[in-house]
């Protein structure tokens, strides 16, 4: 009997679902042990019996519930709660569901400011009131999934690497306990580290890293040691996949931005990286926008509204 899987996307971009499709032939194999019973991007299940929006929102029963995206409005909250009722195990699928992700950057601003900008002051927009018919009202801020429902498994990543998705689903389908990643991105990074002392200050990524174009990244010096803000030390590993790849951003020769969230679920990527840099005597004054270090993990009250942000 294949396991049933229900999947929903809340305040997000569908990138996690596309990453699931990117498992390629692995997808064909997975579909032998897993039956998708609900997934709006791929199949036609509807919420309302009789096409009546007054009816209760329904989602079919499933052993596994994948939920991607943060929770931003009342409808998304209802969907999350219904998924919790209907699914055996809830997976916080991706970084938005796990830590708020990019949508939680909105927690830096009042909704009123956001609406004023979008509906009244944006170039080219004919100013109007906020939409309020049919569309679901916003919640007071953007939440990670475990702030609103109980979560059984976290699979962060923006998006999670297809290998990690396939591995988790295989693990669940075979009735085993998930074995979450515990290492940092640095642990899976091949670049060359020479040691402390050579970097005095962090610089912005306004010029490329130094590397030999025809050489593998193992010959490139650690990007943090080159003075760039690389989030590798404080970010969970996983983006390199499970077949000997390297961190995805390092493949592109750019610093890690931290998209898998903190190494340990309760960690704070901003404190952790500032501490790590300070303990190595590295000056971070040049960083123009420190809060953005939390761009992937701003839920759980880490990013909060600042009244007229300081200059």
């Amino acid at each position: 009997m294949p396991l049933r899987l229900a999947s929903e996307s809340l305040s997000g971009c569908s990138g996690c679902e596309i990453a699931l499709l990117n498992t390629g032939v692995g997808l064909l194999r997975l579909l032998k042990s897993i039956k998708i019973v609900h997934m709006p991007i791929l199949m036609d299940n509807k919420y309302f019996q009789g096409n009546d929006a007054e009816a209760e929102l329904e989602i079919p029963e499933a052993e596994i519930g994948l939920l991607s995206g943060a929770v931003r409005n009342e409808e998304q909250l209802r969907i999350a709660e219904k998924m919790r009722q209907r699914c055996g195990s809830i997976v916080a699928f991706g970084t938005c569901a796990s830590y708020g992700g990019i949508p939680a950057l909105a927690n830096l601003f009042e909704d009123a400011d956001l609406f004023r900008r979008y509906y009244r002051t944006a170039e080219a927009t004919d100013a109007a009131g906020n939409p309020a018919e049919v569309v679901p009202p916003f919640l007071e801020r953007t939440f990670a999934l475990d702030e609103v429902i109980r979560v059984d498994v976290f699979l962060p990543g923006c998006p999670p690497h297809p290998d990690g998705i396939a591995h988790l689903l295989d693990t669940l389908a075979s009735g085993k306990k998930p074995d979450p990643e515990l290492q940092s991105v640095c642990d899976s990074c091949p670049t060359r580290r020479e040691g402390k002392g050579s970097v005095q200050r962090i610089r912005r990524f306004i010029r490329n890293a130094r590397f030999q174009p025809d050489k593998p990244p193992a010959d490139m010096r650690c990007l943090l040691e080159q003075g760039f803000l690389c989030m590798g030390p404080v970010t969970l590993a996983g983006c390199s996949g499970r077949s000997g790849g390297m961190p995805r951003c390092i493949e592109a020769r750019v610093p890690c931005k931290g998209c898998y969230g903190p190494v340990r679920p309760g960690g704070n990527q901003l404190f952790d990286i500032l501490n790590a840099l300070a303990s190595n005597g590295i000056d971070t004054k040049n960083l123009p926008d420190r809060l953005a270090v939390l761009r992937y993990s701003g839920a759980h009250r880490r990013l909060v509204r600042t009244v007229n942000k300081p200059a």
Binding site: I36, L105, N208
Partner: protein, 462 residues
Amino acid sequence: MSEKKAEAAPAGSSARRITIQPVTRIEGHARIGITLDDNGEVADARVHIMSMRGFEKFIEGRAAEEVPGIVTRICGICPWQHHLASNKAVDGCFGAEVPLAGRLLRELTQVLAHISDKVLHFFFLSGPDFLTDSPDVSTRSIMGIIQSNPELAESIVRARYRGQLMLERFAGRSIHPEAIVPGGFSKPMGRRERDEMIANAQEQLQFAKFALDFAKERIFSKFDAALMGLGEITTGFLGMVSPKDCSLTFSDGILRLMRPDGSFHEFSSREYTDFIGEHVEPWSYAKFPYARGWGDGFSMDLADPRGIYRTNCLARLNVADSIPSPLAQAELLEFRSLFGRPAQSTMLYHWARLIELLYACERVLQLLEDPEIIGQPVRNDVIPRAGRGVGCVEAPRGTLIHDYSTDENGCITRANLIVGTTHNLAPINMSVNSAARSLIHAGRVNEEVLNRLEMAVRAYDP
């Protein structure tokens, strides 16, 4: 389940609402709401966009060079287009010039991303409407195709996988890239990487040829009058063309806004506010761009539409004078001989999409065969400063505009985005309205009719 449900009872004496939610096999969160009058005829039909995140606001204050790695999250299906448009806007703010090799690599990754999107949309999202016969929701999906035609399914899945690996091996990430940077690209392309990519690109081209032949034989040949008329509306079109010869281009060019009669204006993306306005409706979070430049205002009234134009593949093929690659150009000529210019039938989006797929594969090979693509430098250093930049590309769903201003420290002070899909929101509403009015009478609906309404949405790949 495969037994169709009995038709819903005709409306009684009171008005009735029909809600289709979620609109499925699309990216994003939409609801179709139909209101029937006392006689069960369609009084109104609307497509509501049910969420918004507010990128325009929350990128304020961010260091501009970081923003191209943030706005990718607007869309997990077309992150590369947001990535490039954003980088072009930051280039403008910082006054950066991009070296030739950097420009070629930017276009290459852009066009590669178009390939994956088109395969995804045609086969995974819309394909089940044409390739599975059953109205049963459990088989009208890519899973249904995998069961009924495993060989086809495998070649589709492999083509997508190959496209993803081409981006990933060279540029690190296929979803939510970081490889395009203000001033250029993050790394040059090696000879070996290039050669490997050429081999893969040739396979993609074979797949594109197969896809178009297959679709013509199995799908487009069955476009009868009912399908050709499904959601048909008459509109203008917007798309990018090359400044050299007004041919099709995805990443650099001028914008051409065509009226329904085929006459057009051309403008640079920096002038967008003179030509495009955005209208707000109280029942949808997304705004409705319209052709402000026509001076007629905005209306989605089927009998008297105002300011309505469409984007995405059909629009691009309508506005471009030609396609700068031989196989796709031959297809364009055939398409035009069959449907004229501008072609208006909404279902023709599918056909146009596969012609663009062919172009994208040919274009990738053209770019890889240009010896400059393995050249250096790929990036010029940039200097954060105060400025304004408008970055524009053709995303799969349409013309994408990122407009930023920065302060002297190079942080964003103001951002405005017009996202591909939104251009088509007014046309999508009109297409659904038109389809609903022709398919729903005396209050009778069934699942097949409701799916037809969704097909009118899906054609646009919203």
